[in-house]
Amino acid sequence: MKRLLMHSPIVVAVLWIVGYLLLTLLPLLVLLLYPPPGGRGFWIEFSVALGFIGLAMMALQFVITARVNRIDSSYGIDILLQFHRYTSVVALLMVLVHPAILFIAQPETLQLLNFPQAPWRARMAVLATLAFLTMVITTIWRKQLKIPYEPWRAIHTILAVLAVGLGFGHALGVGNYLGLFWKVVLWSGIILVSLWLIIYVRLVKPWLMTRKPYIVEEVLPQQGDVWTLALRPLGHEGFTFAPGQFAWLTLNITPLSMREHPFSMSSSGECADRIEFGIKAVGDFTSTIKDVQPGTKAYLDGPYGVFTIDRYWDSAGFVLIAGGVGITPIYSILLTAAQRRDDRPFLLIYAVASWEDITYKDELESFKENLDLTIVYVLRKAHDEWEGETGYVDRSLLAKHIPRHRGSRHYFVCAAPVMMAAVERGLFELEVPVTNVHMEHFNLA
């Protein structure tokens, strides 16, 4: 019973949310033990509480984004990052409402905005708020502001540390609720753990990665403007992975440079000594993959992700839905299943622009020798002789191909966001259980 409960996505979600709320609220509620004198009025205390909750939420963001496998393995990194984005906006609102209430309830506090004459505690509050605001704006509108991914990541990290550090400095400076030594120790512990996590992710982990380098063995062109980047571990055993997972790749520079990119592995999960990635040339970094020379050094942080059939060993079969380069993790799933001689039925629905854009076509067809595999190609622009599916993967197309007993399969979808949303809606309308649908956004940035 306990095992069954711990495998229920709803139970796991409830436990995580309760844990999140406790971690956010307990540091606030302990401030009520031996509190400072009251009588400042409800709104002032409410404003202070929002400030502390905002600070705790900011500190927790470091935990959410620390790539802790135990946390990631519940829902996947893209879900966690989306949670990170939403809760960051909530935290920012609390941080902004905190002084706004003070200014309304005690208009004389507006003088604290006079930066040159304000005390340090107020200056730190202003700087922390500006750092947080800048961080959220440059994240939400990064593409519109034309900020490249790599400098954005570095700026994001620096602003995050500044916002939390200065925010805590402000709370210490005010000292009303942090007047007792043990309260300072408790809050310092929370802030130090969060800062340690970012130091671990950005410095310690990259340094550990330098001790396990990889070397580019070859770069092979595939159909559909996709390149296979093959890496071989140098002086170590590499790693095995669950097919469908991804890793952060650093190429030709030290991993300490924070210029890493997430890519799904396209090779067999059981082959540790040659790890391949299928990379489509769509951005600044990916467009340079074709020019990478064999012998180039590379570093990997992984594997990560829950987009894998290995978690559903008792499923009666699988429906895999890919759009464009979203075939990469699904190819790895099929390749590994073929090597394992998995006897369950697989249905692959693969949407591409045209027949010429089908990546891994010959390999996919060859899997039919070892797998119970049905492939449905969906072409947006088909030639005249084409008798297969055309257009988009929508409800009617799904209804035609997916098994009648919807809940007997697990469904894996990897495509561009628009297609993912359409497929998700179609599967929902066809009464596929939500817990049987697994999706991965291949653009995490």
Binding site: L25, L33, Y34, L50, I53, I79, Q82
Partner: protein, 62 residues
């Protein structure tokens, strides 16, 4: 759809967080019971706990 569900979840947790902030403010700001205000000082410092702790401080600074 998953992101919509998560948005609802985050909205729900935000309501809980803001409600707790309001509870915090109310606890810290609530008026002392009249009987406590009229008691001698020595009888007011008793026990441990959130409510009692509030009274201790109002004693100290009041």
């Amino acid at each position: 759809m998953r992101y919509n569900l998560m948005l609802q979840l985050v909205a729900g947790t935000t309501v809980i967080l803001v409600s707790t902030a309001a509870l915090f403010a109310w606890l810290q700001n609530r008026a002392e019971p009249a009987e406590l205000r009229t008691r001698p000082v020595s009888s007011r410092v008793v026990g441990v706990g959130v409510g009692v702790a509030c009274r201790r401080h109002s004693l100290a600074f009041g």
